[in-house]
């Protein structure tokens, strides 16, 4: 019973969505819309599972005084502060204020945004060092990859026109033809793979919801 019910539920919801796609009856459309609204709410609840796992991991680290346990305190405090301010503002439609701004907004502007942008910009350096290793031409494939990357990079900056005349046009041509063809092939392949996996899940051949309990 405990194992069969989830398989039946998964089949019924999955099959309903597929059938509803082809049936335009108002009753089915209405039911599908309601289901959509419900599951957006479930998605939001699912986020808390990740938060609990995060909190458990860091709490264990602090309790056992493992390496960098002090940073775990910082992570949990920042999480708690930001989440508290967010929840507080949602419920009261007003909350703590720093200067003339809500505290949640202030932290978003002066902590979250710079941290996110800086962290991603740091990847420019990582990519450059990865490029140094990747672009050592060992075979024709690596040469093709490097030439395409260099032309696209030159095509994106004004100085590229001086280093390689018509780099913008060549870059556009690469993006619109060979790149488009490969992207399309990858997209079709990936979509067919995802669709076949979806059918396997709906039919109960794959059971990711069992978490290893009913495999």
């Amino acid at each position: 019973m405990k194992r069969q019910v989830p398989i039946v539920l998964c089949f019924l919801t999955g099959a309903f969505v597929v059938v509803a796609f082809f049936i335009g009856h108002p009753l089915v459309v209405d039911l599908n819309e309601k289901l959509d609204e419900l599951l957006i709410i479930v998605t939001a609840f699912a986020l808390v599972l990740g938060v609990v796992s995060f909190a458990q991991h860091h709490t264990k680290k602090i309790q056992r005084k493992q390496k960098d346990w002090r940073n775990s305190i910082v992570s949990l405090t920042s999480l708690g502060l930001m989440a508290f301010l967010g929840l507080f503002e949602s419920m009261l439609k007003s909350g703590a204020v720093i200067g003339d701004r809500p505290a949640f907004d202030w932290l978003f502007t002066y902590a979250f945004t710079p941290l996110q942008a800086t962290m991603f910009s740091l990847l420019a350096f990582m990519i450059a060092s990865a490029a140094f290793r990747a672009f050592r031409i060992k075979n024709v494939e690596a040469a093709v990859l490097m030439i395409a990357a260099v032309i696209v990079m030159l095509g994106r900056v004004p100085i590229g026109q001086y280093i390689l005349p018509h780099s913008l046009e060549i870059s556009e041509w690469i993006m619109n033809n060979p790149n488009l063809a490969a992207q399309r092939g990858i997209l079709i392949g990936a979509a067919l793979g995802a669709a076949s996996m979806a059918i396997r899940v709906i039919l109960g051949i794959e059971r990711p919801y069992m978490g290893g309990a009913g495999d």
Binding site: T43, M91, T109, F112, A198
Partner: protein, 216 residues
């Protein structure tokens, strides 16, 4: 400059420099900024989800008019059932909620992938080859590229005989695609780097100099 903005700019500048200190080597200041980033990102996500999803779509609607919105409570119940996994005796209820959740999104994914990705992409690949022009050459290139890449990813048969050279052509198309994506990504990251450096100079150093010299 308001004190809150002043403090905010200093905080942003400190966090920016703390992250960039990693370029020298891994250090405690970087790890501190990294920990703040992890916590703040997750906290922001929670605030956002509660503010934009749970509160307006569930709580407010149920409180305002529970009659026609009763079905939303099922979403709340399913959401709470997900947490049953932490109570061993009723952990199976968590799997029921997860099964409904996965079933629904897998169904949506199936139709979206077939209807939104496969069919339009196949339709757009059916290009005319009826005239002798550069457009025909480009169309031919796209058709050959799509087919060869698809054959490269076709693993049900060993790549021998005619499949071998065709899949090799597919590899070259994939390499061009990866190279182009790589170039694009680098330029996007460098653009972010320029943005951060501009902030440090224009948003932090210059206003501070102006403030100290008394002209700000």
């Amino acid at each position: 400059m308001a004190l809150s903005s002043f403090a905010g700019i200093w905080l942003a500048a400190f966090l920016t420099l703390a992250i960039y200190s990693f370029l020298y080597k891994d250090n405690p200041v970087y790890r501190l900024a990294e920990s703040i980033f992890v916590g703040v990102s997750l906290g922001y996500e929670i605030g956002l989800v509660f503010y934009r999803t749970i509160w307006p779509n569930l709580v407010e609607r149920l409180l305002a008019d529970p009659g026609p919105n009763w079905y939303l409570a099922i979403g709340g119940i399913l959401g709470i059932m997900l947490y049953c996994r932490y109570i061993p005796k009723v952990s199976f209820l968590g799997r029921w909620a997860l099964a409904v959740y996965i079933g629904y999104f897998v169904g949506v994914e199936l139709m979206q992938r077939l209807h939104g990705d496969v069919l339009p992409q196949v339709r757009d690949t059916m290009l005319p080859l009826s005239s002798l022009s550069s457009v025909t050459f480009e169309n031919l290139l796209i058709i050959v590229g799509v087919l060869s890449v698809l054959i490269y990813f076709y693993f049900s048969k060993p790549h021998t005989g005619i499949l071998k050279p065709v899949s090799r052509i597919g590899v070259y198309f994939i390499m061009i695609c990866f190279g182009a994506s790589f170039g694009y990504t680098i330029m996007a990251r460098i653009s972010l780097l320029i943005g951060r450096l501009t902030f440090l100079v224009e948003g932090w150093v210059k206003p501070m100099i102006a403030l100290i010299s008394g002209s700000g």
